[in-house]
Amino acid sequence: MSCFWDSLLSLRERLAKKELSSQELVKHFFERIKEVEPKVRAYITLTEEGALAQAKEADKALAAGENKPLLGIPLAIKDNICIRGVRTTCASRMLENFVPTYNATVIERLRDAGAIFLGKTNLDEFAMGSSTENSAFFPTHNPWDLERVPGGSSGGSAAAVAAGLCAGALGSDTGGSIRQPASFCGVVGLKPTYGRVSRYGLVAFASSLDQIGPLTRTVADTALLLQVIAGPDNRDSTCVDQEVPDYLAALDMDLKGCKVGVPKEYFGQGLSQEVAQAIEASLEVMRDLGLEVKEVSLPHSPYAIAAYYIIAPAEASSNLARYDGVKYGFRAEGKDLLDMYKKTRSQGFGPEVKRRIMIGTYALSAGYYDAYYKKASQVRTLITKDFAEAFKEVDFVLGPVAPSPAFKIGERTADPLEMYLSDIYTISVNLAGIVGLSLPCAFSEKGLPIGLQIMGPHFSEERVLALGHQFERALGLFKQHPGL
């Protein structure tokens, strides 16, 4: 009775019908984890004891007839989201032994909804990267082809969902870190509107771009998780005070006549043939669903990466200044304070983190602020306006998630800039703060998943999820799983 491929919603039904208990479910997942994890390495920390205890509680509640939205459902959480009492490392030596004394808001909401945590998943260190190869501990392997990357930075979460090592997961997205691994691993990943989900307890990378979001095997599952975690939070000033609609109820809304825009700038060089074809095919499906497809223009797209790779590192350089060996985390011995600072930070951070801190510090430094940070922020306005203009003509913007399917581990590590350039399709979404959903739309010749991105204006999650859900049902790809 392999339940590890089941969608979250169907597991919820089975638990409610008492077809299986939460404890059994958790045990199944841990058995599968023991079998598969040595190959995939999605998790940094497993919390088996805690999960079983939580499952026991859940079973009591289920028996009593409680019906909280996620009661008894086992999830995996990206290791940059704080869980009280559980090691939260951000895949960095700097926080290798850090145990938070507080929960992230999303964790409290998941717990209130009855969810269970199986463990903390691997990521690129401090969420900086697109392949999870920047983890200070070990890389995660793509369940569809173990020699390939799962994408990043939420590679661990995406792989765990794809390999049936949890019912669903949380990740974080600053420049594509949920959507791109979702695409590489053939699962669904959503970056909600900026401010839709509280960032409290998410270890900050780039504050004006970060969002927490779900990774699941179906769009409906993502809708459910979003439902639970979204909403105002008085601990996060940037979390928008807006009601959370019923995303599940909206999934089957009538979308006939809606317009889908395809940016002409997205189909230039760099995009692999296979991905271009997969997107074309997806547009056909959209037409079949009754939507109109038309071309739109996002003229400032070519500048998005440049703007992002100034803004994100600038904010990160400031956000990571707190890692100084004084209050928590790693500390190196130093002959005096300055020496301690330098050794601690140089030994505690990996090369990509240091690289971004350097870029960010430079971009904010005296004499360079106007030329870099301010300039990039002005270009951000132009990019945001591009989308606003496009959304006057269309309801959704569609495009690829990544220029190619998953690449091989080690293939792109030599040139950081090359890695940055592959963020081309996801990055603008973070700059504009709009919604981005990634879901499988095809497989490559080599059997690797290819993702489609559906973008919508601020707070249009209902529609975006509805379109994703209907597209997913039409295609039926969610029924396919890696051979692990």
Binding site: N80, I81, C82, T88, C90, L95, F98, P100, T101, Y102, A104, R199, Y200, G201, L202, V203, A204, A206, S207, S208, N234, R235, D236, S237, T238, A314, E315, S317, S318, L320, A321, R322, Y323, D324, V326, K327, Y328, D336, L337, Y341, T361, L364, S365, A366, Y369, Y373
Partner: protein, 477 residues
């Protein structure tokens, strides 16, 4: 050659909100280390700031009280640098878009009135405390103070002397205390001052090289540090030597300023708008609501007291130095309409007690009713002025009614002429030698007789009446 000093002051005022600026920890002073700390103010990973509205209310209050321009949009910015008492590795402050700019503080030096213009007022968070170990090469960090709200008030370099600097600080402190937004205590650190000072030949319009002075923990320190620095810079100038732009610390023991060169480096704070906080929009209604809560401010009150109560400037300055004291004064004058008497007593007896205990008048048992009752007893000659002082101390200590104390302690003055005359006559008879002395020209001997009468009456005789009677008796025969 004559020189003039050009001085600007940068003051940090710790606000008296109950909770910190970006989290709900208490701002109360004196707690055990790291017991007023939460994950937010200790900068734990994943934590975020949320602004305490009262801090903005207080900033608006001060801006109104100093006639500053309040900006409709204000933004918090990060000031990035590394130090152990700064847990985030940046301080949340304001840079490009502070809450207010401009404004002024009026000071009186001698008989001159002068306006010291302000550059800006902005909000920021305080850092923690670093304590250095005497013997081992370590320091200890306490984050209790991290996140306590501060207002930074920067003046234009309009100040021309150490006296003006102190007058400015005193007036600023009075305003802060009137508004009830800051305790204004330099010794305790709720009011901190750094100075920028340069000198130039009198008449010159160019600015000289400015030196920053730190580590002044009282008005006296500020005065002494500036005086020393003026002498130092003048001497260098006259010697033809260069004045180096640097930061100098005031050395309390030696009364000199000492260079920090070599220990300090130019900071590149890399300011940028804090992405974790959203812009502040201050509309007219908000400002108006705050304006309604403003008390009568020190300068206005002083003018009014001088006019309405005929107080000299010096007295008025003292009475209005504390809003509570000023209110006490007015309440007393309402009951006992002799302002000069009330103000004299306040400036001597009352302030002595208040200063001794470090209290404000409203924190004591002395009420306008009790106080004026005492003054009336004195005015009516029921008690002597010596007795009055005794009664005052008792009233202050116990809060008992003066009339009650007078009765309990038998301090009622004997003023009846018949009674006293009899005693005086008796004593004059008993001391013929002294009478001789008096009549032979030593008029001072009357004091001996007064003393004797006092002894006889156990201090209760009304000295004025006794004097009068004795004089009559001694002069007559």
């Amino acid at each position: 050659m004559q020189f003039e000093a050009v001085i600007g002051l940068e003051v940090h005022a710790q606000l008296t909100t109950a909770s910190k600026i970006f989290c709900s920890c208490s701002t109360a002073f004196g707690a055990a280390p790291n017991t007023h700390v939460c994950e937010v103010c200790m900068a734990a990973p994943g934590t975020l700031p949320v602004l305490n509205k009262k801090v903005v209310d207080y900033a608006i209050k001060l801006a109104l009280a100093t006639n500053a321009t309040i900006h409709p949009v204000a933004v918090f910015a990060r000031k990035n640098y590394f130090y152990p008492d700064l847990p985030k590795g940046y301080q949340i402050s304001q840079y490009d878009l502070p809450i207010a700019t401009g404004g002024y503080i009026q000071i009186e030096v001698g008989s001159q009135t002068k306006r010291i213009r302000l550059v800006r007022i902005h909000m920021e968070e305080d850092a923690g405390k670093l304590i250095h170990d005497e013997h081992r090469p370590v320091s200890f960090v306490d984050f209790n103070r991290t996140g306590v709200p501060l207002l930074e008030i920067v003046s234009e370099p309009d100040i021309r002397s150490p006296e003006e600097a102190v007058a400015y600080l005193k007036k600023l402190r009075a305003i802060l205390r009137y508004l009830e937004i800051c305790d204004g205590n330099m010794e305790e650190g709720s009011l901190r001052c750094d100075a920028n000072i340069s000198i130039r030949p009198l008449g010159s319009k160019e600015l000289g090289t400015k030196v920053e002075l730190k580590n002044m923990n009282s008005f006296k320190h500020v005065q002494r540090a500036l005086e020393y620095e003026i002498r130092r810079q003048t001497a260098l100038y006259l010697d033809g030597k260069e004045i180096i732009q640097e930061t100098r610390l005031f050395d309390v023991e030696k009364g000199v300023t000492v260079s920090m060169r070599g220990k300090e480096e130019a900071h590149d704070y890399r300011y940028f708008p804090d992405p974790d906080l959203v812009p502040l929009k201050v509309d007219d209604q908000w400002v108006e609501d705050i304006r309604q809560t403003l008390p009568e401010l020190p300068d206005v009150k002083k003018e009014r007291f001088m006019k309405e109560y005929g107080l000299p400037a010096y007295d008025a300055e003292i009475i209005i130095s504390s809003r509570h004291l000023a209110e006490f004064f007015e309440a007393c004058v309402k009951i006992f309409p002799k302002p000069k008497i009330v103000s004299n007593w306040i400036m001597t007896e009352v302030l002595r007690e208040l200063n001794r205990e470090g209290k404000e008048i409203h924190e004591t048992k002395l009420t306008p009713e009790l106080f004026t009752e005492l003054l009336k007893l004195l005015e009516d000659n029921v008690i002597s002025s010596t007795a009055a002082k005794k009664v005052f101390s008792e009233v202050y200590k116990t809060g008992k009614r003066p009339a009650q104390i007078v009765e309990e302690q038998g301090l009622r003055q004997e003023s009846d002429e018949e009674t006293l005359r009899a005693i005086c006559q008796k004593l004059v008879k008993e001391h013929p030698k002294e009478v001789e002395k008096y009549r032979s020209g030593k008029k001072g001997v009357i004091g001996f007789f007064v003393g004797q009468v006092m002894r006889e009456t156990k201090g209760k005789a009304n000295p004025k009446v006794v004097n009068k009677l004795l004089t009559e008796l001694l002069e007559s025969e």
